[in-house]
Amino acid sequence: MHRKALLKAVSIVAILACSALISSTGFAANKVLKIGFVGVTSGPAAAWGISNVRSMQTRAKWINETGGVKIGDTTYDVEIVTFDDQKDPKRAIAGMEKMAQEGIHYVVGPNVDDGAAAVRPVAERNGIIYFPYAFPKELYTKPASNAVLGMVASYQSGPAIYKYLKETKGVKSIAFVSANESDPLSQREGGIAAAKALGLDVVSSNVTFQVDTIDFTPVLTPVMRTKPDLLVLSGVSPANAPQLIRSARELGFQGLISTETAQDATVLKEGAGDLANGFISVGGASTPEISSDMMAEFVDRYTKMFGEYNDESNTKVYALEYILETLKVNPAAITDVEEFKKTMDTFEVANPYMKGDAKLKYVGTTSFGQKRQLMVPLVVNVYKDGKFETLFVAEVD
């Protein structure tokens, strides 16, 4: 009886071992290239990080399904390793240390200023290049060299938007409203400086609000009394934008409303309906006028994978693409970020997500004195009837 049981157990173990070997052999057809993400995927700002992670996961799955990515003589499957920093700098440091322990050299995130600043020593000590979605200039100017800004900063998009509206819509006066948090407040300060430099009359710039405000009417009432031509919602999150737009319009505001952050058309439609028509925001490359077939396929794959597309991913689709394309150009960078940095200065390939001859290249010389920014197209959108339309496209140098 015992012998029979022993034989049975040995057989089961043997079968399991064989199947494990077979399956591991199957997965091991390509080597694995791990790319990290450290950012916020829970709590009030979860939408920012989740759109990052989902963009990376969608693209990685797509690459793996089509045979992997060839870097030098080796073909890799891409694995996305994620860490939720809960918008807490201490957790962001722990996340970056985890990436270092896993031998990861390229990390997307963090999403906010203090997290991005906190991880800098860890990244520099462990040879990690990271791609924050945060705007402090000291992260990207010398002596810092491991951070690469993943999007267009508010101090780059704001002046372009105000200038456009001044020249085409006759905007003369401007008011700023922002949440009482570090990122929106710093974006507001940048916006005020840009508006003044353009000669616009800043009629209101002190009004702020708590992110958990349940009624924006009292917040906006004093701003509306200043009757600005343009109301800027500095650094506004997709959660607050519809409510602010709705309250401003309900208070009788007839002027223009804009922000320098990316928004989601569905969220605007649900939260503000037709009142959001004319709202100007920064987007990526998914408006029909400029998006390529590859962008359309990305949106389709993302939607199938997660049930619903997030328009914020129009800008967040780029980071992983840049990492992989740069590694393709210089395979030595796979383990040596100094090689990656050297390649950044001359790197230039076609932008697969946009029609025409748009390029992927590193920029930032004007703002940071070195190429430490992804050239994500500065697409300024206007919301109309549930969709974004391209207002104008510009480039950061």
Binding site: G43, P44, N206, D215, T217, T221, A239, V267, E270, E308
Partner: protein, 289 residues
């Protein structure tokens, strides 16, 4: 001035409703429900689904939300709080459990409803404008009236029904109520279900104004605790008073202090600390509990 009063009334009615559920649960079970804000968020998402996605009338969505949250509350009490209260006399056990439930609900809401901000079509169009002295959209007026009616209905329920009287007796003296034949387990469950229902209802009402998103739970809980501390923990009238006081302070602060930046809540928190150092039991609470 008129606008400030109206804003205070509107905010106060919402806040009072949020605080009512929290204080009811505390009064009955001596549980600080840190998951109260998440129940508010869940209520918002249920209303969003029934009214915004499935297209049922708003009132049906509110009823559906009330029933759903009552069931969720009852299940949480039965399967989680009851065993913990039975096995542990330490108060921090229920506090930790409540915090755990808050994280659980956050995770469930993220999985089921996603990370995006959600909103629903306006329930009423148009704006009431009295010579630019009072400007208030009609939907806010309706939400305010519905909230005040809900509070009145809740008070009437507690005052005039057998269940309400039993709950009040239970809250006043658990042992005495038990000796008088009140079924403690049953009324704990009913109380928790009612508390969750109130949180869900106000979430359902406010989804028409502010929308709802995953991250609203924590801040809502903090405000609810503030109101309860102002009014007095475990006192129904105190929760209502706390809600209206916080609403008034917020409305006045935003009107008067806006040019100095967002210092309204800084002053509210500072005032609350001073107030509690003189009257730690709140306005209507008793020093002995």
């Amino acid at each position: 001035m008129e606008q400030v009063i109206v804003n205070a009334l509107y905010l106060g009615s919402q806040y009072a409703m949020i605080a009512l559920g929290l204080t009811l649960i505390f009064a009955l079970m001596n549980v600080l429900n840190f998951a109260h804000g998440q129940m508010y968020v869940l209520g918002g998402f249920v209303t969003y689904t029934i009214y915004g996605r499935l297209g049922f009338p708003f009132i049906v969505a509110l009823l559906g939300t009330a029933v759903t949250l009552a069931i969720v509350g009852a299940l949480i009490e039965y399967f989680l709080f009851r065993p913990v209260i039975r096995r542990s006399v330490r108060e921090e056990s229920t506090m930790l459990l409540a915090a755990g439930i808050a994280f659980l609900l956050d995770a469930v809401i993220l999985l089921v409803f996603g990370e995006k901000q959600r909103g629903v079509p306006k329930i009423l169009d148009g704006v009431f404008n009295w010579d630019f002295r009072i400007i208030l959209p009609y939907d806010r007026i309706l939400v305010c009236v519905l909230a005040i009616m809900s509070i009145a209905g809740f008070i009437a329920f507690m005052q005039f029904t057998k269940t309400g009287r039993a709950l009040r007796a239970f809250a006043q003296d658990r042992v005495a109520a038990e000796l008088m034949g009140v079924n403690v387990d049953r009324y704990s469950m009913i109380g928790f279900a009612l508390g969750a229902m109130l949180a869900g209802l106000v979430g359902g009402l406010l989804v028409t104004i502010t929308g709802v998103n995953l991250g609203m739970g924590g801040p809502v809980s903090i405000k609810a605790f503030m109101m309860v501390m102002i009014g007095g923990a475990g006192v129904i009238s105190g929760a209502i008073a706390g809600g209206f006081i916080l609403g008034a302070l917020e409305a006045v602060g935003l009107a008067v202090l806006s040019q100095y930046g967002d210092i309204t809540y800084l002053l509210i928190f500072a005032s609350l600390m001073v107030f509690l150092s003189f009257r730690p039991q709140g306005l209507m609470g008793k020093p002995w509990g």
